[in-house]
Symmetry: C2
Subunit: 189 residues, 2 copies
């Protein structure tokens, strides 16, 4: 998606050779109109799959997942990192390691929102080592639902998440794949 | 907003006389098409205010804030509850008490995303005691930006947040105001 690559080049900040900061349009401030375009593009790539549900993890995944779900005309479920007082006790739980924070946390999805009649599309803002996506894949498997694939806004192609998922036969569609960020320059695949 | 009240009546669960659970369309599973309608309605109520930015708190605020910002054609900034490795060091911080969790947490907004030229609309999914909204109001004040008002999906009218905000002269627009949940029945104002 050329508009996305241009935006990453223009607004992205290279924090280190492995960390890309895009907080001006995706992670902290969100360019709402642009996120709607991203949703149209992600929905378009999976529109023939008979998706019944989009799933993501709070918080940065919610915006692209919502815009995708709105175009597909299906509900979105976001996995929770913390347990609210109102959360169901019947939940699917997986452990996820955070690449940027260096911590391990649980993600939880209420069982009533995923079942074996569902065809699920996983959406996330970033794909790095794939821990978040793999956690969601496990939750989809546990629920008995069918996984249509994984839609990603920015994949860091030099980290292993994309390969791990594709090696499992999972379809991964990334709107921009960053091949390297060496020498303070962002190179796309 | 009648469609919202009907949805709350149909899908909402009364957990106690003070806690309403709407995780089937707003807090965990999100009805994407319906959230887009909610955004149109909230945007409509503030469309003459010259809004330049929508602000909310992760995670449940993001969906209605995004749909509102998309209709208004402005960016959305979501205050963070945890500090990512990539977050700016120059941030506005406020302490917020969580009604449902019984904990106190910091919310943070990078200074570069709010400034005195902005006219800001605060959006959140729930208004109970107003702690989250008041925290955002303080951040808007610190930034020197102008506050246009607060747009809420569901206000619990029997708790003090709405009064606290309105007593400060802040315009609060709530799409549904729950007057009471006694006797297992939801009564709207």
């Amino acid at each position: 998606m050329d508009a996305l690559k241009e935006k990453i080049k223009r607004e992205g900040e290279i924090i280190s050779s492995s960390i890309l900061k895009v907080d001006s349009f995706l992670n902290h401030q969100i360019d709402a109109g642009f996120i709607m375009e991203i949703g149209r593009e992600l929905a378009n790539r999976f529109c023939d799959e008979g998706i019944t549900k989009v799933i993501t993890i709070e918080a940065s995944g919610i915006a692209p997942a919502l815009s995708t779900a709105a175009v597909l005309g299906v509900p979105l479920v976001f996995a929770k990192k913390t347990k609210a007082a109102t959360m169901d006790t019947e939940v699917y739980v997986e452990q996820v390691k955070s690449f940027t924070r260096g911590t391990v946390y649980d993600i939880k999805v209420a069982k009533k929102f995923l079942n074996k009649e569902d065809k699920v599309l996983i959406i996330d803002d970033f794909l790095a080592y794939g821990h978040a996506a793999l956690g969601l894949v496990q939750i989809v498997k546990k629920s008995g639902a069918d996984l249509a694939g994984v839609g990603i806004v920015i994949e860091k192609g030099f980290q292993s998440g994309g390969k791990l998922l594709r090696d499992q036969g999972i379809r991964v569609e990334s709107l921009a794949v960053v091949e390297s960020m060496e020498g303070n320059e962002i190179i796309f695949k």
